[in-house]
C-alpha cells in the first residue's frame, strides 16, 4: 500500500527540518508523524521517509528497529503498555499484567481480534512513585489495582 504524507503533515515536517542543521536528524520526529498518520511503520512508510530526508531506506529501517516506540506492525486502537520493572513489580505489576492478558486473551505484543486492544510489557516508564501503572496510547494510568484496570479497559471499550 502506497504511503504519502498529507499536506498538513508535510507542513509540520517543514517546521521540524528548521530545528536541525541536517535533514537526517529529523528522522525520529518524522517517523512519529508517519506513525500517527499510518498507525504503524511499514516498508512503504520507510521508503517515503527516506525519500523525504535524502536517506537510504535501510538507514531508516535501522532507526525504526532500534527504538521500541516505532511499531513495525499494526497495533490495536488502544495500545496498552504495562510496566513490569522493579518498582512496579514490587507493587504488584505482574498480577496486573497477567490480569490484562487473561481479560483480553492476548499475549505480549498481541492484538485482540477486533483490533481494539493490543498489549505490550514495557520497561520503566517513570511512574515508580505511583506504581503500578498502565499507559494507554499516550496516557498514563497510575496507582492501579485489578479493579481499576477493569474499569479502564471497560471505559475504552465503551469509547470505541
Amino acid at each position: 500500500m502506497e504511503f504519502k504524507f498529507t499536506e498538513e503533515n508535510l507542513t509540520k515536517i517543514e517546521g521540524i527540518l528548521k530545528k536541525y542543521p541536517e535533514k537526517k536528524a529529523a528522522v525520529m520526529p518524522v517517523l512519529y508523524i508517519a506513525q500517527e498518520q499510518n498507525g504503524w511503520i511499514s516498508q512503504e512508510v520507510m521508503k517515503e521517509v527516506a525519500a523525504l530526508l535524502d536517506m537510504h531506506s535501510d538507514e531508516v529501517l535501522g532507526v525504526v528497529t532500534f527504538y521500541t516506540m516505532y511499531h513495525q506492525k499494526p497495533m490495536g486502537k488502544y495500545h496498552l503498555q504495562v510496566c513490569t520493572n522493579v518498582s512496579c513489580m514490587l507493587r504488584g505489576a505482574y498480577s496486573i499484567y497477567n490480569h490484562v492478558k487473561d481479560k483480553l486473551k492476548i499475549e505480549n505484543g498481541g492484538i485482540t481480534e477486533d483490533a481494539v486492544f493490543s498489549l505490550e510489557e514495557v520497561e520503566c516508564m517513570g511512574s515508580c512513585g505511583t506504581a503500578p501503572m498502565i499507559a494507554v496510547n499516550e496516557d498514563f494510568f497510575e496507582n492501579l489495582d485489578e479493579q481499576k484496570v477493569d474499569q479502564i479497559i471497560e471505559s475504552f471499550k465503551d469509547r470505541n
Binding site: 503498555q81 522493579v86 518498582s87 520503566c124 516508564m125
Partner: protein
C-alpha cells in the same frame, strides 16, 4: 528547609507566576556578567551532575573550547529511563521555566546558540507541558531572537525539544547525541569527549534536567549559599525518588546527605506493613544494592555512598521488604539490561543475556551453587570491557547482589550438585593432555 528545584508555589509552571516569584531575574543577572565568571560561580558552588555520574557541572562547562569556528551545542538530558528514577518529570510538570532559565544561563556561559532538550518518548504528557512552557517563554521573549530586545543583550539562543522513542541507552550522553543526529542510539568511543567532538562534530555539553534547574538559584543567591546546603562535597538539594515497599512513595526534595533511614521512615512513611527491609537500591536499578542491615547511618550523597560500596546514581531509592523474592527482582533487573543493551560490545550484548538465563534458572529453582560464581564471573567480565557504562550498569547489581546476599542466594539453589562438563574439548584446552586423549 528551602526548596530549590521544586518550591511549594502553586501554578509555578505558569510563566506569570514564575515571573512574580523572581523568575528570569537570574538570566538577566547572568547576561551582565562574563561567561567565565558564571562558569567560575557554578564551579565554586560545587554543583554536581544529577544524572548519575555526579560530575562537577562547572568543570564540565569549562571544557568547552573558547576559540572555535564551529557552532556549540547544549543538550539537556531528560531521557530519564533508569528504573526507580522519576524526578525530571516533576520538573517538566511543576517548574519548567526554571529549567528554561537554567538553559539560557548555561547556553550563555558555554556560548551555545542551540539547545536540544531530549525527553524520553513515553513522557507524552510531560513533553506537551514543557513545550507549552517553552512556547510561552518564546512569546514573552525569554528565548529566541526576541531575547535581544527583552534582555537588551547581543546574546540569543534557540531551544528545541527532541523526543526519544523508547531506548534506555539514549540517556548515555554520546548515544543521546547520535539519537539527535537521527541515528541508532549507539554510544560513541571516548575520547574524543563531547566538548571537543559532540553533535555533528561540534563542541557540545550535556547536562541533566535537574542539574540545569539548579543553576538560576546559584546565580541569584551566590555560590556560597548553595555550597552550604547539605553535604559539603555534594552540595545542594537532591530530588530523592522513593519507590517500592514504602507507605508514601514519591519525590522528595531535601538537602543532600540525608540519612537513608530518615528518608524511608520519616518522609516516605516507613515500610508498608511495618516489615523489615531486606534490600535497598539507593540510586536507580544500576547501582549496587545494600542489605537492609547495612543502611543504619548511611548518608545519601556521592561520597558517603561510595564509602559503603554503592553510588548515588539518580537518587532513586528502591525499598524491598523482607518478603521480597530477591532472585526474581534480580532476574527482572537483568532482563531490563538484556533488553536495553545496544549490542555494540560483545561482553555486554552476550553477557547480559547469559546473566538473565542463569538468573531465570535460579528463579525457577533449577540453579546450582556454581551458578552463583558463574554470575559473578560473567558480571566481572562485562565491567570495564564496554564502550559505555551500560556494561557496569548491568553488571553491578548482579555482582553486588549475589555477593552481598550470598546466604540468601545459596538457599535458593538446588542442594544436590552435579558436576557437569559441558564441552570437554573446551575444558581441557589449557591442560597438558593432547586432545586425542580425551575420552567420553
Amino acid at each position: 528547609m528551602e526548596k530549590i528545584v521544586l518550591p511549594d508555589i502553586n501554578d509555578l509552571h505558569q510563566i506569570s507566576v514564575y515571573e512574580q516569584n523572581g523568575g528570569y531575574t537570574a538570566a538577566r543577572k547572568a547576561f551582565g556578567q562574563k561567561p567565565d565568571e558564571i562558569i567560575d560561580t557554578v564551579k565554586k558552588s560545587g554543583l554536581r551532575g544529577r544524572g548519575g555520574a555526579a560530575f562537577s557541572a562547572g568543570l564540565k562547562w569549562s571544557f568547552m573550547p573558547k576559540a572555535t569556528n564551529k557552532p556549540k551545542y547544549l543538550c539537556i538530558n531528560g531521557d530519564e529511563s533508569e528504573p526507580g528514577s522519576f524526578k525530571d518529570r516533576q520538573i517538566f510538570e511543576y517548574n519548567p521555566h526554571q529549567l528554561i532559565e537554567g538553559i539560557l544561563i548555561a547556553s550563555y556561559a558555554i556560548g551555545a546558540k542551540v539547545t536540544y532538550v531530549y525527553i524520553r518518548g513515553e513522557y507524552h504528557k510531560w513533553i506537551k507541558l514543557f513545550e507549552k512552557a517553552l512556547s510561552d517563554a518564546y512569546e514573552q521573549g525569554y528565548a529566541g531572537e526576541k531575547m535581544k530586545e527583552k534582555f537588551g543583550t547581543e546574546f540569543s539562543c534557540e531551544i528545541y525539544v527532541h523526543k526519544g522513542a523508547g531506548a534506555y541507552i539514549c540517556g548515555e550522553e554520546s548515544a543521546l547525541m547520535n539519537s539527535i543526529e537521527g541515528k541508532r542510539g549507539y554510544p560513541r568511543v571516548k575520547p574524543p569527549f563531547p566538548a571537543q567532538n559532540g553533535l555533528w562534530g561540534c563542541p557540545t555539553t550535556i547536562n541533566n534536567v535537574e542539574t540545569i534547574t539548579n543553576v538560576p538559584a546559584i546565580i541569584n543567591k551566590g555560590w556560597e549559599w548553595f555550597s552550604q546546603i547539605g553535604e559539603p562535597k555534594h552540595p545542594g538539594t537532591l530530588l530523592y525518588g522513593i519507590s517500592g515497599h514504602v507507605n508514601k512513595p514519591g519525590v522528595y526534595e531535601l538537602p543532600s546527605g540525608m540519612l537513608l533511614t530518615d528518608l524511608i521512615y520519616n518522609y516516605a512513611g516507613g515500610v508498608s506493613g511495618n516489615k523489615k527491609i531486606l534490600c535497598i537500591i539507593p540510586g536507580g536499578s544500576s547501582m549496587p544494592p545494600l542489605r537492609g542491615d547495612q543502611i543504619d547511618g548511611v548518608k545519601m550523597d556521592a561520597e558517603s555512598l561510595k564509602a559503603v560500596g554503592t553510588s548515588i546514581g539518580t537518587a532513586g531509592v528502591m525499598v524491598m521488604d523482607e518478603d521480597t523474592d530477591l532472585v526474581k527482582v534480580l532476574a527482572r533487573i537483568a532482563k531490563f539490561y538484556y533488553h536495553e543493551s545496544c549490542g555494540q560490545c560483545t561482553p555486554c550484548r552476550e553477557g547480559t543475556g547469559w546473566m538473565l538465563k542463569i538468573l531465570n534458572r535460579l528463579a525457577a529453582g533449577e540453579g546450582s551453587i556454581h551458578d552463583l560464581d558463574l554470575l559473578v564471573s560473567v558480571a566481572s567480565n562485562i565491567e570495564g570491557n564496554t564502550i559505555c557504562a551500560l556494561g557496569e550498569a548491568a553488571a553491578w547489581p548482579v555482582r553486588h547482589m549475589v555477593t552481598r546476599f550470598r546466604d540468601y542466594f545459596e538457599q535458593r539453589v538446588k542442594k544436590e550438585v552435579t558436576l557437569q562438563v559441558a564441552n570437554k574439548v573446551h575444558s581441557m584446552r589449557h591442560t597438558a593432555f593432547p586432545l586425542t586423549e580425551i575420552k567420553e
